[in-house]
Amino acid sequence: MRKGYLLMFVLVSLLLLSGVINGQKEVVVSLPYWDTAGLTPYYWQAQHILAQGTIFEGLYGYAPDPKGLGGVKVVPVIAQSVTVSKDYKTWTFKLRKDKKWSNGDPVTAKDFEWSFRYYSSPKIPDLPAWAGPLQFFENFWAVKSGALPETELGVKALDDYTLQIKLSQPRYDMKEWLCVAQGVPIHRKTVEADPANWWKPGKIVVNGPYIPVSFTPGKELVLVKNKNYVGEVGNVDKIILKFGGLGLQAFQAGELDAAMINSVGELKYVKANPELAKLLKEDVMDCFWQGYQWSRGFDPLSDNKKLRQALAMAIDREKLCNEVLGGRALPLAKYWPSGNPIGDKLKDIPFDVATAKKLLAEAGFPDGKGLKTLVFYITGGGDPVVEFVVDQWKKNLGVNCIIENIESGLYWNSYVWANYTPDAKAGFTTIGAPMNNLEIGALFKNSDHTVWFYDYPVSVRKRIYELYQELDAWLRKDGGLTEADWKPLIEKRNTLYANFQKILQTEPEKLWKEELTRPPVWYEQFDELYEKWKSAKTNAEKTSYWRSAGRVLTDQELFQTGYFGANKTRHEAYRWRLRAVNRPFDEAIKIVPYGLQIMQDQYFMVPLYLAKAQWVQNPKLEGLMLYKFSWGPGFFNFKYLNMKD
């Protein structure tokens, strides 16, 4: 009898503990996810997709806002208030006092100070600095190179809950930059105890709403609710993020609570299945247009603006989206879609075959006659979009274009993103123009390639290419041991200085002048290196100063070649860009369309469509946030998830 009571007691206790009797069933949500390499927030791989807002939190973060760019708005998370100096270089944040780490420690300004110094130090030599806010901190580059100690970085905890960040130059979108993953702190004690493994489940201490408890690359990541988290969070106890696999089938088998639709075939299947069709959801990836860009070679053919316009106007984007992309995209003939403050101000590139033919004739190629065969470079198994475009050019204009498939590494590094590719023929590559995050520069969505690389005569393009090569060569040049080695450099410095003064006297844009004369100005850098060289003790030091001086001059020559070699339109586009990045984010949005329209009107980069994100979703699940930035489509910021009863 006693044994029976004991057994009953054990059983009841177990049931109570498991939450079955008091009705507390664990709420679990399973979702598809990008296979992630690790959880270290300062690496590009973790960016804001996972790190920010789910396992870590920074001063600012994203909250859903269907009307905002990217479907998000920037909201204070650990920051309570901010004071910005007049010159936008000193940002002082007051922090919330109730935020905690998952082990119960308070989150303080010192955590931010230590973390930012740690990321900036040479201890993380491969920090992708271009992807985060630290690059703008005062002395960041000197600290990263080891020239200055970490304590010289422009960040300071004035007290436990006041953090001051000093920037090397005005930055008006700091709040927006602080939303990406290098803006989150990590837990000092844990990191110092095991610098290589602190981020692994079982060890990691987080300050976000969820804690990783198991991580198997190639399979899944399991997150459970952080009981010490203070802040807005849904009712989900456990989130299982599954990498890869057959998403739609896993959803049908009840193993996933949402699944992305990845192809036209899947979309047709979902629409034909009455039960699945009811669960279908759709949104537009408005941060990401897809189109083509002219190849960055030296063939003068692409200098013909009318030819560029003719080709851009001869593509039926409606047909492309409906027939080739099966309704998984929206036609787009400008850099931003309508429905937001930027897109509403931009003009469309019309689909107008008659005008296109006229322009082609005016360009010197009536009905395509006399025009040599163009090359459209692609990579991978084939590209139906490119095939369609090439077909449209042939049918509508009589223009011949062949498709050339290139191995992916070569394609991306040498054809799409390189500055110039000497062996690229007159033609095109496909391009996606994304925003990585809400920074002002990214509002131009790659169109500013026009400013960096296009619209120069061939001779200038060739010279710029050479100068890039020279810049790299300076890293490895031997010499710099005698005054004779400096002589040509000093002569060049003086010539460049004279030209530089001319630019300053004639450039009408005050902001551009300010940018060019921001200390240390190039010639001051050069003179300082020369002085240091004179007192250098070893040959290695001497060579190093000489190389650096050579780089400073080559860089300046590169700028001047571009400045004098470009036409007025390109200069004007750059001035608008400067005006935009020198405004707070909200105001910049109003300026961006002016620069963007100028760049679009050059027809070097031509948008074709906006992808749609389509997925099926458990009807009980709420708060799923679609990631619309460059890594999308997918889901992110899981703290808003809520499962209805």
Binding site: A37, K219, W412
Partner: protein, 320 residues
Amino acid sequence: MGILKYILRRLVTIAVSLVIIVIITYVLMWLAPGDFFNINAFQASAGKVSTLTPDQLQVLIKGFEEKYGLNVPLWKQILNYLWDAVRFKFGPSFSNPNMTIEEQIAMRFPVTFTLSILAMLFAILIGIPLGVIAALRRNTWIDYTSMFISMIGSILPQYLIGVLMVIIFSVYLKWLPTSGWGEPKQMVMPVITVGLGPLAIIARFMRASLLDILNQDYIRTAYAKGGKERTVIIRHALRNALIPIVTIIGPNLAFLLTGTVYIENLFRVPGLGQLFVSAAAQRDYPLLVTSTFILALFVMVINLLVDVIYAFLDPRIKYE
């Protein structure tokens, strides 16, 4: 020459071959355009169009080169790599700076190893009897059926078999989970999908090999001496017919150990294949050299094992 001496000699050959393979891979990658060894390409990947100045980029490049040992001449990089390889320390990879390559391999190798061994066992346990039955009942419906079953495995591509199995067993019948790894239920579909290819090959080879042996004079002699069918087949025919099968199993196993990438992705099996393929796609050179190294090591060691097993199956084979 004794077998030990033979094995020792082969091990030396393997070591020399591995060194040559590493050198060739390294040099080829260094020569290939659009790679990480090239500063231009690094700048492109680091966002050349960003607002970084050349000197800022130089700071990044220096840090990157130091971390990945690219700041020394190529010959020294190769020597460093070989020394690392001997100690099985491959350092960090470009695409996953969070974990060392050896850590990633240690995490994924047991999974791929289990999957490959189970798939090969499945292929052997089904494939050999299927081939034997087909050979013994040649040109009967049993032969045709066995060969038809094995043909399915070689005709249908793995991905199709995988997807079909998920639709049938997970979506409709709900017997098995669509994916995952660790629980026996999760292993069934990946093992069968991976095993069907080698199963088909083994069954067809077994059939052909056994038929060939059954027509040999010594089998006829064995029958003539009054041997029972079962004894003749098992003691005389089968043992000899297995030799070509061992030859097939060896390379196939090496292939499975490194080549199950699609299936791993489909069934969310966290194995080596995924890792190695992503290395190529992401231009992750430290990982790419290491995957070539590991693959070569597998193939050579398995070939050695195959040759040693021959000796046990056929006493006439001598090691010289």
